[in-house]
């Protein structure tokens, strides 16, 4: 063997040494496809490629094809890459490609889906990963020249739309509206809006309620005093100012309804004078017994309501 031949062998070995790792980086590309025949216009074809790479290499996501029309008859509809991780120093990917064909053949015809060129990187080096092309047979939908006279198709009536169940929603809506109305009325009552503005406060009703129970259970001096005070406050509220015994004529002038109970009111004021300013609760209670005081308060309540 001459020197040249030996030199050539050496070069080949060196080239093999450098290229061997590059070959080993791509372990396999397996394409799994459905049946290769019997497709008609509009069918979707799902291809799956399983790619195995040596560990430091990853598929470059930038090299993946974008869903787009590939040809006048072929669309790439969907591209999905699944990474199954590293197993025994090998990284496994599954690449799903969904195509849709719009070819309208006049007779059965073989078509080809072109291959996909991907690349894998490990940081600095880049290797090509080629998913192979695949071919299949497409068939026409109908005969080229009709042999039987065509019949007009009878159109079936449209399907009636399904009613959406709304009864529960309506019930809830009505309920919430009712609640809103009640809340608004409560607010209006509290604020005295609209017709509620004419609502009369009933100080004598409150006073009658406040004094009836204590006087009936324990008619002692403190509760008697409190009862008189409650009635005085009711007079004050009704008149809008403090009402003393000497103001009674003016009070009756302003509130003629109370004139019906004038005698009782005068008796009440006389008794309260004795209690508060004469220090004579005993005498006042003799003159106006607690139970009669309760009766007077009820009478005043009735007068306030517009009764007799």
């Amino acid at each position: 063997m001459g020197l040249r031949a030996r030199m050539g062998l050496l070069l080949l070995a060196a080239a093999m040494l450098t290229s061997c790792p590059a070959l080993a980086q791509l372990r396999s590309v397996d394409l799994y496809a459905p049946r290769p025949f019997g497709y008609v216009i509009g069918d979707a074809i799902a291809l799956t490629a399983e790619i195995a790479l040596d560990a430091p290499y990853v598929l470059d996501p930038a090299s993946l094809p974008q869903p787009r029309p590939l040809d006048y008859w072929l669309d790439l509809r969907d591209v999905r890459l699944k990474d199954h991780g590293i197993e025994d120093g090998v990284r496994h990917y599954t690449l799903d490609l969904v195509y849709q064909t719009f070819y309208a053949p006049l007779e059965p015809r073989r078509l080809a889906i072109p291959g996909v060129a991907l690349s894998a990187v490990d940081g600095e080096r880049r290797v090509a990963v080629n998913v192979p092309a695949w071919s299949f047979l497409m068939s026409p939908l109908r005969e080229i020249i009709s042999t039987a006279p065509g019949q007009a198709m009878a159109l079936r009536p449209d399907i009636a739309p399904q009613p959406i169940p709304t009864a529960a929603t309506m019930r809830r809506l009505i309920m919430v509206l009712g609640l809103t109305l009640v809340a608004f009325l409560a607010l209006a009552w509290q604020k005295g809006w609209g017709p509620f503005g004419r609502r009369r406060s009933r100080p004598f009703a409150q006073a009658a309620r406040a004094i009836a129970a204590p006087l009936a259970t324990a008619p002692d001096a403190p509760s008697y005093r409190r009862a008189l005070l409650a009635l005085h406050r009711a007079f004050d509220v009704t008149a809008g100012r403090g009402v003393f015994a000497e103001d009674l004529p003016a009070f009756f002038e302003a509130h003629p309804a109370f004139r019906a109970a004038e005698a009782e009111v005068r008796r009440l004021f006389a008794a309260s004078r004795r209690v508060f300013f004469g220090d004579d609760t005993q005498g006042a209670q003799r003159e106006l017994p607690p139970l009669e005081l309760v009766a007077i308060s009820r009478r005043l309540r009735a007068v306030e309501r517009g009764g007799p």
């Binding site: 004050d236 100012r241 403090g242 004469g278 220090d279």
Partner: protein
């Protein structure tokens, strides 16, 4: 028990006298029932009174009638700008023998039995005179001829013309505080009274008119005793005392009660005043009023009836509001009585 009944019967006798006293004055002064009632209260509370009002509404007539009805010694003096304290105390003149003589002046002329001293147009007199008057009102005594003169029964009535402000001297607050009441004398309201005053010849000559007043209805010597009996005989209950203190507090801090007067900043309106002396005068006057109304206990109405006259001039308000004083203080007092809850 016996003493109590005696006091009661004495008081009720005197109440009759007091009502007759009011009636006698009312015969010649028409349409001033409220003022007459206040003067009667002052008389039985042994307090001094300052009358204020327009010209010619009958202030002087009223006081002359009152002096005549009380009986006892009466003196009057006109306030002028050159009146000096000595003019009140001494009377300097030439005697019949041609020698200068100094005799007791108007204040001393009636001796210590003087019961009504009537000072006309008090705001025309100088502050020196006011201070003499202050002592007479507070201590019922003056110094003259190197000794003290005591006037145990004296009651000072003064009047003041509120229209004229020129050549007048405003009374110092201390002097005003010594008056039990400042009574506003207005025009009579009733048309009938006005017509009589203008057209009835009876009212044209004041001197003959005053002769109609029965003289000496009440005994000035006994007034002091009766006044004391009234003060001890008319009760004030704890409830009323609490009410009075609440009124006092409300007058001093009207903003806390939510009293509002149009165009007035309530937080700064009341600067002070409503002195403890004023409040004690108020209760004194309220007791007399209760007695005149035939009650043996003070009720809030009594306080309300005398409150404006006794207290209004003791409330010191922000100078900004001084010119509208009458209306503002009137509303303040009305507001306090409307808001403070009576027991």
């Amino acid at each position: 028990m016996r003493i109590v009944r005696d006091t009661d019967s004495v008081l009720s006798d005197w109440r009759g006298h007091a009502l007759r006293f009011e009636g006698e004055i009312g015969k010649v002064v028409l349409g001033q029932e409220r003022v007459i009632r206040l003067l009667a209260i002052a008389t039985f509370a042994r307090g001094h009174v300052l009358l204020e009002g327009d010209v010619g509404v009958g202030k002087t007539t009223l006081l002359r009638a009152l002096a005549r009805a009380i009986g006892g010694a009466f003196e009057r003096i006109e306030g002028t700008i050159d009146l000096m304290p000595t003019d009140l105390v001494y009377h300097a003149h030439l005697g019949e023998d041609g020698r200068p003589r100094i005799d007791p002046g108007p204040l001393l002329r009636q001796g210590e039995q003087l019961s009504v001293f009537f000072f006309n147009e008090i705001n025309r007199a100088r502050p020196q005179v006011h201070s003499l008057l202050l002592r007479l009102m507070a201590e019922r005594s003056v110094s003259a001829f190197n000794r003290e003169y005591h006037f145990p029964h004296v009651q000072v009535f003064a009047d003041r013309n509120r229209v004229e402000r020129e050549e007048t001297f405003e009374l110092p607050a201390a002097a005003r505080d010594r008056f039990l009441m400042e009574v506003q004398v207005g025009m009579p309201m009733e048309t009938e009274a006005r017509r009589s005053l203008v057209f009835d010849p009876r009212f044209h000559n004041v001197d003959t008119l005053l002769m109609e007043v029965e003289s000496g209805v009440i005994d000035p010597e006994a007034l002091e005793t009766v006044a004391r009996a009234i003060q001890s005989g008319v009760r004030s209950s704890p409830a009323l005392e609490a009410y009075t203190l609440a009124l006092w507090e409300a007058i001093r801090n009207p903003a806390t009660l939510g009293i509002e007067i149009e165009g007035v900043d309530m937080a700064r309106l009341v600067q002070g005043g409503a002195s403890p002396r004023g409040m004690s005068y108020l209760v004194r006057a309220a007791r007399v009023r209760a007695w005149l109304e035939g009650r043996d206990m003070v009720v809030p109405e009594d306080l309300r009836a005398v409150f404006p006259e006794v207290m209004a001039h003791r409330i010191f308000i922000d100078p900004v509001y001084e010119l509208r004083r009458e209306r503002i203080v009137g509303e303040l007092i009305a507001g306090v009585f409307a808001r403070v809850p009576a027991p």
